[in-house]
């Protein structure tokens, strides 16, 4: 079933056409990756979906409901959660309070305070920063703040999760962990996910579909394996060296039993 259906989404800022007529459909259970060079419009597309920037579109349906005229908080209550590439923590709330806000105002009504906190703690466990619960966000490292973003979104128990470069700045082990987390969220919690990531080798393994944006236009869409072979994508985004590495890694993996 199609969870999110967008047709001809366009966004312009003054003279800059950040997105031109992009179609996007996300199926239930998908992990869809959005890639493209810097400034291609990936964040803008997420903004258009979550309602943070004025966008034009033929249709923008979530779970069968037309949402293009809804304010961001309405969309959130319907079950769309997201993280920000440039993290936006609530600086003067503690980490756990930050996450609790997510649990408090999402569409799911949680009756008591203690349940809200419990929910927040679980989300912090899941992303692995439970030990920092009582600090303030500015006491975290950049990547921990990214984890906080993720925890806040998880606490909302959304149907669709939009992740904007949550792996940026993570090292390999952490990327592995985050990948596992994404898979867990997707498989076990049944949440559909759209990610924006540059970390290709990670994304290759978790996502089932890739959409490539370039200058605000969709230039390719397909399975990971197909996309990395596409000369257009290599030229615009991946680079030759990456393609070589990718091939080498695959060969290595294939060599392993």
């Amino acid at each position: 079933m199609t969870l999110l259906e967008g047709k001809a989404i366009s966004v312009s800022f003054g003279g800059v056409q950040a997105l031109s007529a992009v179609d996007l459909s996300v199926h239930e259970g998908d992990v869809l990756d959005l890639i493209g060079p810097n400034g291609a419009g990936k964040t803008t597309l997420l903004n258009a979906i979550s309602g943070l920037c004025p966008a034009r579109s033929e249709t923008l349906k979530f779970n069968g409901t037309e949402i293009s005229r809804l304010k961001p908080h309405r969309r959130a209550k319907l079950g769309i959660a997201r993280t920000f590439q440039v993290v936006k923590p609530f600086d003067r709330l503690t980490v756990v309070e930050n996450v609790a806000v997510g649990a408090m105002f999402s569409g799911h009504k949680i009756p008591t305070r203690s349940r809200v906190i419990e929910r927040a703690r679980v989300a912090l466990e899941q992303v692995g920063i439970a030990s920092k619960a009582d600090l303030f966000p500015r006491q975290l490292t950049l990547s921990e703040r990214q984890q906080l973003e993720l925890a806040r979104a998880l606490a909302m128990e959304p149907a669709l999760l939009l992740l904007d470069e949550v792996m940026a700045g993570l090292n390999h082990a952490e990327i592995e962990k985050t990948m596992a987390l994404i898979q867990h969220i997707n498989k076990n919690l049944g949440i559909t996910i759209v990610v924006v990531e540059h970390v290709m080798k990670a994304i290759m393994n978790v996502c089932n579909r890739i959409v490539v944006l370039h200058f605000g236009k969709k230039i390719a869409e397909g399975t990971p394996a197909r996309i990395v072979e596409s000369p257009e994508v290599i030229q615009a985004y991946l680079g030759k060296r990456f393609a070589d590495r990718q091939r080498r890694d695959q060969a290595q993996r294939a060599a392993q039993p």
């Binding site: 490292t141 990547s143 470069e165 952490e174 990456f242």
Partner: protein, 238 residues
């Protein structure tokens, strides 16, 4: 001769100690990588070297002089430059002004203009974009501008934090090439902090691995790259 010698460095944020007795040396003209897990203290280390954070203990020799008590300006004037995490351009100023402010403190104006030429040589796109407002550039272009700005200080030691953060693979490749070229052409020492351990170690001659505020491994970059522990923990290969 060593351009940077760090001994027993300790750094604290209030009561929490982040760096524990850290030793690190960079020779003139050397390209050194500093890798490590998140929150290991890499940014903290760079900021301490450049003076944005005070050291709680230990010594910091730069170009033969103890600088740990000195303010940032002094160290910059003495020849450090830093490309900060997240680029941090002066978004409201033009690309040109951003570059020139990198040479803000320099009195040797003719030389500055020559350096500007060099920067445009490394990053021809910057010359094309020089009148644009820096905040409008794409992430990759901004990173180039940030590197260019640091080069304008004509430093003896270039500190780069998270070169590839949020950049498309093609752009990372470009930047890596330029850094390598600068290292060779200008005989500029480089200390690169990078999450992509593979790129970092391929570029550099030596590397340090930081874990929980301590150096756990260091040595020849090639060897580190082949070290099974690194391959497993940082590259995900066996």
């Amino acid at each position: 001769m060593s351009i940077l010698v760090v001994k027993d460095l300790e750094v604290k944020y209030g009561d929490t100690q982040v760096l524990w007795g850290l030793d690190l040396t960079i020779e003139r003209g050397e390209f050194v990588a500093l890798v490590g897990a998140n929150g290991a203290g890499k940014t903290t280390f760079l900021k301490t070297v450049v003076g944005l954070l005070p050291a709680a203990a230990g010594s910091l020799h730069f170009a033969g002089e103890e600088v740990s008590g000195m303010p940032v300006e002094y160290r910059i004037r003495k020849g450090m430059a830093m490309v900060p995490e997240g680029r941090r351009l002066f978004k409201g100023m033009s690309v040109m002004d951003n570059l020139m402010i990198g040479a803000h403190f320099r009195e040797d104006r003719p030389q500055v203009h020559e350096d500007l030429g060099k920067v445009f040589g490394y990053f021809p796109e910057l010359e094309r974009l020089r009148k644009r407002v820096a905040g409008d550039l794409s992430g990759g272009e901004q990173q180039m501008c940030a590197v260019g700005r640091a080069l304008m200080a004509s430093p003896g030691l270039l500190l780069v934090d998270e070169m590839s953060l949020g950049l498309a693979p093609v752009v990372v490749e470009r930047l890596a090439e330029v850094l390598a070229k600068i290292n060779v052409n200008e005989r500029m020492s480089v200390l690169l902090v990078e999450q992509d351990v593979e790129i970092a170690l391929e570029l550099s001659s030596r590397g340090y691995v930081l874990d929980n505020g301590q150096v756990t491994m260091s040595g020849d970059a090639g060897e580190l790259l082949r070290h099974p522990q690194i391959r497993e923990a940082y590259l995900g290969l066996t």
